[in-house]
Symmetry: C2
Subunit: 133 residues, 2 copies
Amino acid sequence: MAMTRPMTIGHLARETGVRVETIRFYEKCGLLPPPARTGGNYRAYEESHLRRLHFIRRARELGFSLDQVRAMLAMSDNKNQSCEAVDAIARVHLEEVERKIADLTELKQELDRMVNHAHGPIADCRIIETLNR
Amino acid sequence: MAMTRPMTIGHLARETGVRVETIRFYEKCGLLPPPARTGGNYRAYEESHLRRLHFIRRARELGFSLDQVRAMLAMSDNKNQSCEAVDAIARVHLEEVERKIADLTELKQELDRMVNHAHGPIADCRIIETLNR
DNA sequence: ATAGACCCTGTAGTCGCTACAGGGTCAAGC
DNA sequence: GCTTGACCCTGTAGCGACTACAGGGTCTAT
């Protein structure tokens, strides 16, 4: 019988770009279901794990928190529900991102002002002066 | 003799907008020097602490890490040095901020694309689809 | 004398991993 | 059959920058 080797955690890691320790961490905190084990107690993954981990990785890249990812996964497992709840999560996250961009842009302006000045002795360092205001 | 009351940690907190616990935390990790103590073992702060804490707060608001703040404080204590090192820290930080803005802007575009689509059953939810790619 | 606001120390929790320590398993080469 | 080295296992501790207790003590006003 042709017995293809089980997919190990290392395979999954290389395939998805998620580190081995992180995969175990995702399992521990309930994001990735515990896979079957081989005789030697190695984790043996299936295609479904691969897909789920890809999903998690992509969502994380997009800055969703693990809680948000968890919620979205639960919804996508529940195929007959409406997509509104997922949309709501994405919208909240989008707002957070927009707020962060605005904050950082203000910050950048202030840092620009601080940095673009001549150097001298500490006593009249513009940066320290600015921070002391 | 007129004995003004010592400045308590609560005063310092109200004055600077830094929480009491955070002030103690800054002391523990060496950012704020340990003040004198009253008979009842309360911390009794001086003007210098107030100034230093203002500095820390401002730098934190501008997104400098505690390590960066520590370095800048050390330099500003050392008044006869040049200001170049402080400038270098600020420049590195500015670059980080710029990179973050760029990343978040890309992110926002992708989220915009995800969110601006009609709702339907989960089965053809654009968001989940996008995350599955 | 007592209530209530404030202060103290020390420890554990948050988030999302990362990095060990101290072992076991497996495939290939000799 | 034995060894080497790559891989896997569990469990725990660490990061940064706080935050939130628990279990006490102090100070001020009534």
